[in-house]
């Protein structure tokens, strides 16, 4: 573990905070953004685009509710299509945020501190986008109440607890709740900082309420640190369980291409892979736009690219094993499934995903690539596409050509499928832009703990 921000330059590694920062400059750099009176033009421009997409989401959802799911391309036998693909994709994106805020905290990875807050924000907004699909995929969102949640309804019905779909409800709603709680708890001391620095009375009052009257006493901090560690310890098994349970939605069924024991670890790795790519997609422009290069350094970018590479390799292993299992199983249906993926009607999607998730990701072995921000940004976007295609391949190719050739069909999404998916980006971006503007995007107090001012020598 590296404990010093002043590593010898001979190690040729960028520190997690560039030199020249003290408590005051860290507070100032981060807190001035939510406290400023300015709304930067670039921010407003992005917000307009995001609101446009959000409007499209509302239009698509409105038309869906009025008309029904006939507007989707979903058919027989492809009864699961865009909604589940997008749901799994968004949920997966969220996993990187929890990994950064919880798992890396348990491993005492100090570089996590300046990216954890906005990675967690990403998690929460991604889960919100994901939640739209299970709720709306029947076109009758009000029915979701009784088939999703166990509550005493007038029909005397209860959910089927032996179904992975109900497990998923528990996993995802717990994940959403715990992520929000963890995020909020992590923000309390920073909200007190904003309260104390706010120049306008209204801002001081609002941030004061959100901070709950935090005053940072030794007692407060002690309980706070214990609670944070416990929450991290609880979030770790939670995040691993979420994508495991999502993979059960497929693995517990009998469809060739879904019924595979490798799914849980393979899904979790894929989630973290796509999630870290998304953190890069967000971090690269944000650090530039807000001048955060001294707090989100090239070290962070490098580490995130390395995790993307590592999880990408696990995903590649997953693809290999899927093909191996299909061959080794001796089952003609399994063998056909794999052959169909590689050569059938959706072969383009399979080979594109291999090109991205197996081939392109290898470039991250090179430091030159990991240090090239423009290239890394483009690659992170492509990884997002690759992981979306992975879910497309799993869901659609497996269903379109299943056991009985007479039931085979072609699936193609409609414009409403695409509008709904693009619309969720509007929700995500709107929420993320508001977060950047009104909440300290980097944890002020955590970054400060890395500075010499916070260090205490052991008693002699």
């Amino acid at each position: 573990m590296d404990t010093s921000i002043h590593r010898p330059m001979a190690l040729q590694e960028t520190p997690v905070i560039l030199p020249g920062h003290d408590f005051e400059t860290v507070t100032e750099t981060i807190a001035e953004i939510p406290l400023s009176k300015r709304f930067p033009l670039g921010w407003v421009g992005f917000l307009i685009v995001a609101l446009g997409l959000l409007g499209m989401l509302h239009m698509a959802l409105g038309y869906l509710v009025i008309t029904g799911i006939g507007i989707f391309g979903t058919n027989q036998p492809v009864g699961w299509a865009f909604p589940i693909i997008n749901f799994v994709w968004w949920i997966g994106i969220g996993h990187a945020g929890t990994l950064i805020s919880a798992i890396l905290l348990l491993f005492k990875q100090q570089w996590r501190m300046s990216i954890s807050r906005f990675a967690e924000a990403m998690t929460i907004f991604a889960v919100a986008c994901a939640a739209i699909f299970p709720v709306f995929h029947t076109g009758r969102p009000w029915l979701a109440a009784y088939w999703l949640f166990p509550y005493p309804n007038v029909m005397g019905l209860w959910p089927q607890f032996k179904s992975p779909l109900i497990w998923d409800v528990f996993a995802v709603s717990t994940y959403a709740t715990v992520s929000i709680v963890f995020w909020y708890i992590g923000m309390i001391p920073d909200m007190a900082t904003l309260r104390d620095r706010a120049t306008s009375k209204i801002k001081a009052r609002i941030y004061g309420m959100v901070s709950l009257g935090w005053r940072g006493s030794a007692r407060h901090w002690h309980r706070y640190e214990v609670a944070s560690l416990i929450l991290a310890g609880l979030s770790t098994p939670l995040v691993l369980s979420v994508h495991t349970v999502v993979s059960f939605d497929f693995a517990v069924s009998l469809i060739p291409g879904w019924h595979a024991t490798i799914f849980p670890p393979y899904f979790v790795a894929g989630a973290i892979y796509a999630g870290f790519a998304m953190v890069l997609t967000l971090a690269i422009p944000v650090r530039r736009f807000y001048g955060m290069e001294s707090l989100i350094t090239m070290r962070h970018i490098d580490n995130m690219a390395k995790i993307t590479l590592a999880t990408g390799l696990i995903v590649g292993y997953g693809y290999t094993m899927e093909a191996f299992f299909a061959w080794y199983s001796g089952s003609p249906h399994e063998r056909f499934m794999m052959w169909n993926r590689m050569t059938g009607q959706y072969a383009w999607s399979y080979w594109t995903l291999i090109a991205i998730n197996v081939v392109m990701v290898q470039f991250l072995w090179f430091k030159k690539v990991r240090q090239n921000l423009g290239l890394l940004f483009v690659m992170s976007l492509i990884v997002g596409v690759g992981m979306w295609l992975e879910r497309f391949v799993i869901v659609v190719t497996s269903l379109a050509n299943d056991f009985v050739p007479s039931s085979w069909a072609h699936y193609s999404p409609t414009r409403w499928d695409f509008m709904l998916y693009a619309g969720t980006f509007g929700l995500f971006l709107t929420a993320f832009l508001l977060f950047l503007r009104f909440v300290p995007m980097i944890s002020i107090f955590e970054v400060k703990t890395l500075l010499p001012q916070a260090k205490v020598k052991a008693e002699h």
Binding site: F170, R215, R219, R223, A454
Partner: protein, 181 residues
């Protein structure tokens, strides 16, 4: 801001300001070894040592979280058992109604949910939050406690409070202030 013996009773305490964690911790150690008992430190960052020096006791939060987690597990299992076996039994392929292995996932998730909520709400409640008013905020300099200054307060309920101001002035503080009640 100077005070006399008569006004002492309306004070919350005296507050000393320090430049960094090290000087505060040194001062806190000295304060405790001088026999002061009603002491509190306020810092912009968590400092692990301070709680051990000043309060010498650890929070009960972990035990509460364990209880919360167990309650969550019991709730999850009981909910599923009751719904699947007692209230709404459904025979699917002759499988047992109380097939407990399928109940693991929701029970597990509710364990984590209840434990996490206990940790979060427990921390807030044990800390006495939300608390809109506290005397320490009466000191103007205290607004720096969330930025880059470190504070030590000896409260007026301390039996040795009479010596507090003089002691803190000699303890390396950058400034010593009265905290109005």
């Amino acid at each position: 801001m100077a005070h006399t013996a008569e006004t002492t009773n309306s004070l919350h305490g005296v507050m000393a300001e320090f430049e960094n964690a090290q000087t505060l911790v040194d001062a806190a150690r000295k304060t405790m070894s001088q026999g002061f008992t009603r002491v509190e430190a306020y810092t912009p960052v968590p400092i692990e040592e301070l709680n051990d020096i000043i309060h010498k006791s650890r929070t009960v939060l972990p035990k509460m979280v364990l209880a919360g987690g167990l309650a969550g597990m019991a709730t999850g299992f009981a909910l599923q058992y009751w719904a699947s076996v007692l209230e709404y039994p459904m025979n699917i392929g002759g499988r047992p109604l109380a097939s407990w292995t399928t109940f693991i996932v929701p029970s597990y998730e509710l364990t984590i949910l209840f434990a996490s909520l206990t940790a979060a709400i427990g921390m807030i409640m044990l800390n006495g939050l939300p608390q809109p008013y506290h005397p320490v905020f009466n000191v103007d300099r205290f607004s720096m406690a969330s930025s880059d200054k470190f504070f030590l307060v000896i409260e007026s309920t301390d039996p040795k409070f009479g010596e507090a101001t003089g002691f803190l002035q000699g303890a390396g503080a950058k400034g010593v202030y009265d905290v109005a009640e």
